[in-house]
C-alpha cells in the first residue's frame, strides 16, 4: 500500500503547485505596467471606452476578487477571452494545439527513425569511417541553431530547387479545390480519416522541412546516446562469451532492441 500514499502525496503536491503557479502568473500579469482595458478596446481608445471596458471586464474590482473569478472560471474550463482577438482562449488553443502536436510527433518520428539506427550502426562499427561521419553529424545536429538551419533549408529546397513548399500546412490549391475536412485538427490524420489522399500527401510534404529542422537536435542526441549505450553493452562480458560461442550476431540484435526501448523513454 506504499504506492497509494505516494500517489496521494504527489497529487496533493500537484494541486499545490497548480495553485501557486496560478497565483504567481496572475499577480505578475496584473503587476507589470499595462492596461488590459485599453488593450481590449483597441489601439486608440477614448477615456469613456476604457472606463466602460474596465467595468465590463471587472478590472475595477479588488485583486483577490479578480483572482477568484479567474480561478472559478478556470475550473469550469473557461480560459477567458483574449484581449486582442476578443475570442475565447480555448478556441485559440483548439486551433493551434493540433498543429503543434502534429509537428512535434512528426519531428519525433523522424528523430527516432534516423537517430536510433544510425547510433546502433555507428556503435557496432566503432572506429570506422561511417562511425566518424555519424558522430560528426550528431555533433552538428546538436549544435546547429535550428532557426538558421530552417532558413538555409528554405532557401535550398524552396527558392533554389523548388522541391518543397514554404510555410503553411497545406497548399493554396488544396485549400481551394480539395480542402481537408477537420476532425482532429491534425491534417495528416484527418486526411487519412476522410480518405483525402491528395490532402495527406500535401500535408506530409508541408511537414518535411519543419519536421526535419526540428528533428536535427534530437537526431544528434539519439545518435550519441544510442551509440554510447551500444558500446557499453558490446563491452559486457556476456557479449564476449556469446562471441566466443559464435552467437555474436543474434546477441547484437537483441541489444539493439533493448537500446531502442531505452532511447524511447528520455524522448517521451
Amino acid at each position: 500500500m506504499r504506492w497509494l500514499g505516494y500517489v496521494v502525496r504527489r497529487l496533493l503536491m500537484a494541486v499545490l503547485v497548480l495553485v501557486s503557479v496560478s497565483i504567481v502568473t496572475f499577480v505578475i500579469a496584473r503587476v507589470i505596467p499595462s492596461d488590459p482595458a485599453a488593450a481590449w478596446v483597441g489601439p486608440h481608445p477614448t477615456p469613456e471606452q476604457i472606463a466602460k471596458a474596465r467595468q465590463e471586464l471587472a478590472l475595477d474590482r479588488p485583486l483577490h476578487e479578480q483572482y477568484l473569478r479567474y480561478v472559478t472560471a478556470l475550473l469550469r474550463g473557461d480560459f477567458g477571452t483574449s484581449v486582442k482577438s476578443h475570442q475565447p482562449i480555448s478556441r485559440d488553443l483548439r486551433n493551434y494545439l493540433p498543429a503543434t502536436m502534429e509537428l512535434v510527433l512528426a519531428a519525433m518520428l523522424v528523430a527516432v527513425v534516423f537517430g536510433v539506427p544510425l547510433g546502433v550502426l555507428s556503435g557496432a562499427k566503432k572506429g570506422s569511417l561511417f562511425d566518424h561521419l555519424t558522430r560528426l553529424a550528431s555533433v552538428a545536429g546538436v549544435s546547429v541553431p535550428t532557426f538558421w538551419l530552417a532558413l538555409i533549408l528554405q532557401l535550398l529546397f524552396f527558392a533554389k530547387l523548388r522541391l518543397l513548399p514554404l510555410g503553411s500546412r497545406i497548399s493554396n490549391e488544396l485549400a481551394l479545390y480539395n480542402p481537408i475536412r477537420q476532425i482532429t485538427g491534425m491534417y495528416t490524420l484527418d486526411s487519412i480519416l476522410t480518405g483525402n489522399w491528395a490532402g495527406l500527401r500535401d500535408s506530409l510534404v508541408h511537414l518535411i522541412l519543419p519536421a526535419f529542422t526540428l528533428a536535427t537536435y534530437p537526431i544528434g542526441l539519439a545518435i550519441r546516446m544510442t551509440r554510447s549505450t551500444m558500446l557499453e553493452v558490446l563491452n559486457e562480458r556476456y557479449i564476449l562469451a556469446a562471441r566466443a560461442a559464435r552467437m555474436y550476431r543474434s546477441f547484437r540484435t537483441s541489444s539493439m532492441v533493448e537500446r531502442v526501448i531505452r532511447i524511447a523513454s528520455p524522448m517521451g
Binding site: 476578443h86 493551434y96 550502426l121 522541391l163 510555410g167 488544396l174 480539395n178
Partner: protein
C-alpha cells in the same frame, strides 16, 4: 564485417530513396493549376497531376487567384469591432457609405454605398441617400434600416474605433433609401462614414441571428465584392467572388483571394520572389531595395502613408518646460542625414503635424532643420550654455528605426552637453509611464500616430488638446487658444472644409512655435506586387489594403 557494411549502405540508400520519393510525388501537387507567373511549374517532371486537384471547369486556376502574403494575423473579423490589420480582409467584403480617395484625386470623397449626401448649415443634421438594388451576402436587401442597425450596433458595443460615431445622437429612417443623422455637436459625418474602421455596413439579420462569434470565426455578411469562404486562423483566409456584386464583374478580375499568413518577413520575400504570392509588404527594407533594382517581375511601390513618427516633449517637467530648450532640441536632430542614411525611401521629413498628402497639411509651414549653432544659442538664452542636464527618451522596444534614431540623436545631443538616455520599453509599459505623473515621466515620448477617419483633428486633438486625464497628450500640453481653434475647425469641417483647413494649419503653427514635439518624419509604405498584377493604387486612408476588385492579371 562485410555483411554489416552492406547493411549500412542499404539503410542509407533506402532512407535517401524514401526521401526522394516523397519529394518527387509532391511536385505536381504543389504546382497543380499551372500559372503563367510560375516558371518552375513548366519544369515539373510529371505533367499530369494524379489527383483531382485541378480547378473545376469555369475557374481560371492560379491566374484567377490573387494571393496576398500577409505578415500579421487577423485578430478580429467582426465588422463591429475590428480595429487593426484585419482591415485588409474587411475592405474586400464590406463597404462604407463614403470612400476616401487616394491623394491627388480631385475630390476628397467618392460615393460608395451612399450616392449623395447633404448637411444643414451647422453640420448637425446629415441626410444620406443610399444606393438602390444592393444586397448583402446573406441575400438581405441593403437599406436605411441596415445602415441604422450597423451604426447603432457598432456604437453600442463601443469597441475599437466605435468612438468615431460619438456625435451621432439619433438616426431617422426617412424612407428605404434615405437616412437622416441628428448629431449632438457639429461633425464631418461624410468623412467619418469613410473610415477604414468601425464604419462598415453589415447585414442586421446575420448579426442578430448569428452574433459576433460567427463573424469572428471567419464569416461575413457585407455588400462587398468578395465573400469569406474559409478561414484557418493564423494560416490562411480564402475569399470568393460575390457573383451578385452591385458593381458587376468584367473579364480579367480575380475569382478568388487568398491571404496567406506567415509572420517571418523572409518567408514573405521568398514567396513574392518565387511568384507563389502576388502581393506582400513588410519584408526587410534592405531587400526591398535589392528587389527594386534587380527584379523586373516584381514592382516595388513606395508611397507616403498617413502615419508619422513624433517625439513628444514633456512640457511640464524641467528643463523642457522652457520653450527655448524645446526649440533647441528641435534644431538638434539631423533630419535629412538620418533619413538618407537610415530610412532611405521609407520616410520623408515631416512638415508640421499633419502628414503630406492628407487634407490639412500645410505646404508652407515652418520646418525645423539640423542646426547645432542655433540650438546652442537657444540653450544659452535659456541659461544652459553648456547643456549639463540629462533627458530620457522612451520608445517601443523592438522598433529598429526608433532605436537607431535614439542612438543618432544621443550622439548629437552629447555635442551640446546634454545626456540622452535612450530607453526601449514595451508599448504598454511605455504608455503607462507616459500616463503617470508628468514630473516623474519620460522627457521625450517617441511614437507613431495614424488617423482613424481621415481628419487633421485626429492628430491635433489626440496628441495636443488639453486632457483632464492623460491619454495620448503625452507632452502634457495645455493651451486654451489652441484647443478652441481646433475644436472650432472640427465643427466646420463638415460645412466649410476650406476654412477648416486654414484653421488646422494655423493651429499647427502654434504647436511649432511652442515646440511641443519633434516631427521626425512621415512614414512611407512599401508594397511589392508581381508585375502581371495590374491596377493597384495605394490608398493611405486604408493602410495596406488591396481592393482586389480593381485588379486584373495581365501577362
Amino acid at each position: 564485417m562485410k555483411r554489416a557494411n552492406r547493411t549500412v549502405y542499404l539503410a542509407v540508400a533506402l532512407s535517401l530513396v524514401a526521401l526522394l520519393a516523397v519529394q518527387c510525388t509532391s511536385k505536381p501537387q504543389s504546382v497543380a493549376p499551372t500559372a503563367t507567373s510560375q516558371p518552375a511549374a513548366t519544369t515539373a517532371p510529371q505533367a499530369e497531376p494524379t489527383v483531382t486537384e485541378q480547378p473545376k471547369a469555369g475557374e481560371s486556376g492560379r491566374a484567377g487567384i490573387f494571393v496576398y502574403a500577409h505578415g500579421t494575423q487577423f485578430p478580429d473579423l467582426d465588422p463591429a469591432k475590428s480595429y487593426s490589420n484585419d482591415s485588409v480582409v474587411m475592405s474586400n467584403c464590406y463597404e462604407t457609405l463614403t470612400f476616401y480617395n487616394p491623394p491627388g484625386s480631385k475630390e476628397i470623397l467618392t460615393p460608395k454605398l451612399a450616392t449623395s449626401w447633404e448637411a444643414n448649415e451647422d453640420a448637425t443634421e446629415w441626410v444620406f441617400h443610399l444606393r438602390q438594388g444592393v444586397k448583402f451576402h446573406d441575400g438581405e436587401p441593403f437599406n436605411a434600416e441596415a445602415v441604422k442597425f450597423s451604426i447603432s450596433n457598432t456604437k453600442a458595443l463601443g469597441i475599437g474605433a466605435a468612438y468615431i460615431w460619438d456625435p451621432v445622437q439619433e438616426m431617422e429612417v426617412i424612407d428605404d433609401y434615405t437616412i437622416k443623422f441628428k448629431l449632438s455637436y457639429p461633425a464631418p459625418l461624410d468623412l467619418i462614414a469613410s473610415s477604414g474602421y468601425a464604419a462598415w455596413i453589415y447585414s442586421p439579420k446575420s448579426y442578430q441571428e448569428k452574433g459576433s462569434d460567427w463573424f469572428q470565426q471567419g464569416h461575413c455578411a457585407g455588400t462587398g465584392p468578395y465573400i469569406i469562404e474559409s478561414y484557418e486562423p493564423g494560416s490562411r483566409l480564402v475569399m470568393t467572388r460575390n457573383e451578385s456584386y452591385w458593381g458587376g464583374w468584367k473579364p480579367g478580375q480575380f475569382e478568388k483571394v487568398v491571404f496567406e499568413i506567415s509572420q517571418d518577413p523572409v518567408v514573405l520575400q521568398q514567396k513574392i520572389e518565387a511568384g507563389t504570392a502576388d502581393f506582400t509588404y513588410g519584408i526587410p527594407p534592405d531587400n526591398e531595395e535589392v528587389i527594386r533594382n534587380t527584379r523586373k517581375d516584381i514592382v516595388v511601390y513606395t508611397n507616403p502613408s498617413f502615419q508619422n513618427l513624433v517625439g513628444l516633449l514633456n512640457t511640464k517637467k524641467p528643463p523642457l518646460d522652457n520653450v527655448k530648450v524645446r526649440q533647441a532640441l528641435c534644431y538638434s536632430f539631423p533630419y535629412e542625414q538620418f533619413i538618407s542614411a537610415v530610412m532611405g525611401e521609407r520616410a520623408t521629413q515631416a512638415r508640421g503635424v499633419v502628414p503630406a498628402g492628407m487634407w490639412g497639411h500645410g505646404d508652407d509651414l515652418f520646418q525645423y532643420t539640423y542646426d547645432l549653432e542655433k540650438a546652442k544659442q537657444l540653450l544659452t538664452e535659456a541659461g544652459y550654455p553648456n547643456g549639463g542636464f540629462k533627458l530620457t527618451m522612451t520608445y517601443s522596444s523592438g522598433d529598429m528605426d526608433e532605436q537607431q534614431l535614439g542612438e543618432v540623436w544621443k550622439a548629437e545631443l552629447a555635442k551640446l552637453g546634454i545626456e540622452l538616455e535612450v530607453q526601449g520599453m514595451n508599448w504598454d509599459a511605455q504608455w503607462q509611464l507616459g500616463k503617470s505623473d508628468p514630473l516623474k515621466a519620460q522627457d521625450i515620448f517617441v511614437m507613431y500616430w495614424w488617423p482613424d477617419y481621415i481628419s487633421p483633428y485626429s492628430f491635433l486633438y489626440s496628441m495636443f488638446h488639453s486632457e483632464d486625464e492623460i491619454l495620448f497628450n503625452l507632452c502634457y500640453y495645455s493651451n486654451p487658444t489652441y484647443d478652441e481653434l481646433i475644436d472650432k475647425a472640427n465643427e466646420i469641417t463638415g460645412t466649410d472644409r476650406e476654412k477648416a483647413t486654414q484653421m488646422f494649419i494655423e493651429a499647427q503653427k502654434i504647436l511649432l512655435d511652442d515646440a511641443v514635439s519633434l516631427f521626425f518624419y512621415d512614414v512611407s509604405n512599401t508594397h511589392l506586387a508581381r508585375a502581371d498584377v495590374k491596377g493597384y493604387v495605394d490608398n493611405p486612408a486604408y493602410p495596406h489594403v488591396v481592393f482586389v476588385y480593381d485588379l486584373t492579371r495581365e501577362p
